[in-house]
């Protein structure tokens, strides 16, 4: 599979701070890739270096085979970036802004039909002639996404695109981005919402303090770190104490809830039998799977 984005030993140093500390990542064409991490992990610096807004202190970055420094014009043609901040030009309306942005990429009037199409697909038709100042935050976010798409880039990078966006719009945006991915666009996403990354991304890289702490397909990461948990709500007739024969099974207690970490499926029988023998009543029962957030917390805590 061909590489869409390649980071090779990339570093960004600000004084004493290693914002990005020797990261190497290859993102394949057609992938939906997630860059995850807490604030200050280096996600936005990674994106800004890709966009040419920030210069790497060391290493190389390329987009569709074009080095972002040496062949910056070709590299920028290949990528559309949705910035994190809701920036806009107050002198222009949505359609004008999109046409200008297309023009910067050398697209003239022949591109107008595509501009109209993305206006329509992003539900901006009613607002196309509205000045950018007059748009709501959600509409401004859509206009920013439209701007990143005007030159039909094969790679689309979204830096925290759903920050501060309501649930309905978030769902619409993701449906649209998923369609783009199905059409063959490579999507790179940074987000705080891990459930989003879990739902959307084929692969993820988890960053902490400028380093990659884990990188794999989302499925593999979940499998590697997966644990099945049995969550029980118990009613102790007497003393609140688990029977000795099940006490060795790793568990956590939160009020009346006991969450047991299962190593094998037969642990369930052992737990229920043990409780039955001790006359402890099970009021509620549920199984809980590992999600990306658990993996993230495990990894980042482990590296602390």
């Amino acid at each position: 599979m061909k590489t869409a984005i390649s980071y090779k030993n990339v570093k960004k140093i600000y004084g004493d701070l290693n914002a990005v500390d020797g990261i190497s990542i290859d993102i394949n064409q057609g992938e939906f890739f997630g860059l995850l991490g807490p604030n200050g992990a280096g996600k936005s610096t990674m994106i800004n270096m890709l966009a040419g807004l920030t210069k790497p202190s060391a290493g190389n970055i390329s987009v569709m085979g074009f080095d972002v420094q040496k062949h910056y014009q070709e590299a920028r043609h290949a990528v559309g970036i949705v910035p994190q901040e809701l920036v806009f030009d107050p002198f222009f309306n949505v359609r004008e802004m999109l046409r200008f942005q297309a023009g910067y990429f050398g697209k003239g009037r022949e591109n107008d039909s595509w501009v109209d199409e993305i206006i329509e697909r992003l539900d901006l038709t009613d607002k196309a002639s509205t000045n950018m100042r007059m748009l709501s935050g959600g509409m401004k976010r859509r206009a920013l996404i439209a701007q990143a798409l005007v030159h039909k880039p094969p790679v689309i990078v979204l830096d925290e695109p759903t920050a501060g966006v309501d649930v309905e719009l978030r769902q619409k945006l993701w449906a649209f981005i998923k369609d783009l991915n199905k059409d063959g666009h490579t999507i790179v996403l940074t987000t705080h919402y891990l459930e989003e990354a879990e739902e959307l991304c084929n692969s993820v890289a988890m960053l902490r303090a400028g380093k990659v702490v884990a990188m794999d397909t989302t499925k593999n990461l979940l499998r590697k770190f997966s644990t099945k948990n049995l969550k029980l709500r118990l009613n102790f007739k007497g003393e609140k104490k688990l029977p000795i024969n099940i006490e060795h099974i790793p568990h956590q207690i939160a009020e009346d809830f006991y969450t047991f970490q299962l190593k094998k499926i037969t642990d369930i029988t052992e737990i229920t039998e043990g409780l039955k023998q001790s006359k402890i009543e099970i009021i509620d029962i549920q199984t809980v799977d590992t999600d990306l957030e658990d993996v993230f917390l495990k990894l980042t805590n482990a590296k602390k």
């Binding site: 970036i81 030009d89 802004m97 023009g103 003239g108």
Partner: protein
């Protein structure tokens, strides 16, 4: 992918954006400086018309008009590139240009063209209004044209430097109030430097604005304080120097790319 056509379309688009930007607020960017220029003309000519004759056979009001035209042209050329940049930086929308494949040369050309066009527009408007009241033929149109072009370009380049350097609007205002205004007011707009004591004549000759005003005025009357060709050479050299500095700032990404 990147062709001459895409480069030309890109440059033209940024030029167009710069032109539409100032035209959208033409009351502030064109009408206001034209009115200010005309007020200077009315007040100074009323007070000094019968008291001064700077060049033989040229009334004071006639003498004043080319200086006012050039001063307004220069101030507005500076204002265009500098305000466009500082606004884009403060608003954050400069990112749209920085994310595009436009080169630093394309960036420079577009901002200079925007600055020169606004300067010429303001200057031409003052001239057209003034000749309603005063007969003011242009003796050497090409001299007028070259001084207007290079003068506007020079201040456009200076505006780019100021716009990149300044982080806040008050820093930008300081540039206008403490550099552009004094240099333009002390450049011989309202007088000939020959009427000054010799020390101030020497100091005035260090002011590049003096050469722009003096050479531009030569284009109207065929008379000037110093040779118009020397003035044109000095203006051109300043234009090249400031353009080089502005291009280097854009190329290095100074205060634009971290």
């Amino acid at each position: 992918m990147v062709t001459i056509k895409t480069q030309l379309v890109g440059t033209w688009t940024l030029i167009k954006k710069e032109l539409i930007r100032f035209w959208r607020v033409a009351f502030q960017t064109v009408a206001s400086p034209v009115i200010t220029g005309m007020l200077y003309l009315v007040v100074f000519s009323h007070v000094l018309q019968d008291r001064l004759e700077v060049y033989a056979g040229v009334s004071y009001t006639s003498f004043l008009i080319p200086g006012l035209i050039m001063m307004s042209l220069l101030q507005n050329a500076f204002a265009n590139s500098s305000s466009s940049l500082i606004q884009s930086k403060v608003m954050g929308n400069i990112v749209f240009i920085l994310l595009s494949p436009l080169s630093y040369i394309q960036f420079f050309i577009a901002f200079i063209v925007g600055a020169v066009v606004r300067g010429l527009f303001v200057g031409l408007s003052i001239y057209l209004l003034a000749i309603i009241f005063i007969d003011l033929p242009i003796k050497h149109p090409w001299i007028v044209f070259w001084f207007a072009l290079f003068g506007g370009g020079l201040l456009g380049a200076f505006g780019i430097i100021a716009g990149i350097w300044a982080d806040r609007f008050d820093q930008m205002a300081a540039f206008g109030n403490f550099v552009i205004m004094p240099l333009s007011f002390l450049s011989g707009v309202f007088y000939s430097i020959h009427s000054l004591p010799s020390i101030w004549q020497s100091i005035s000759q260090l002011n590049p604005f003096f050469y722009m005003i003096d050479g531009f005025r030569y284009g109207f009357f065929g008379q000037s304080d110093v040779s118009p060709y020397l003035s044109l050479l000095i203006v051109f050299l300043f234009f090249v120097t400031l353009s080089f500095a502005a291009i280097q700032m854009l190329k290095s990404g100074f205060k634009l790319r971290t």
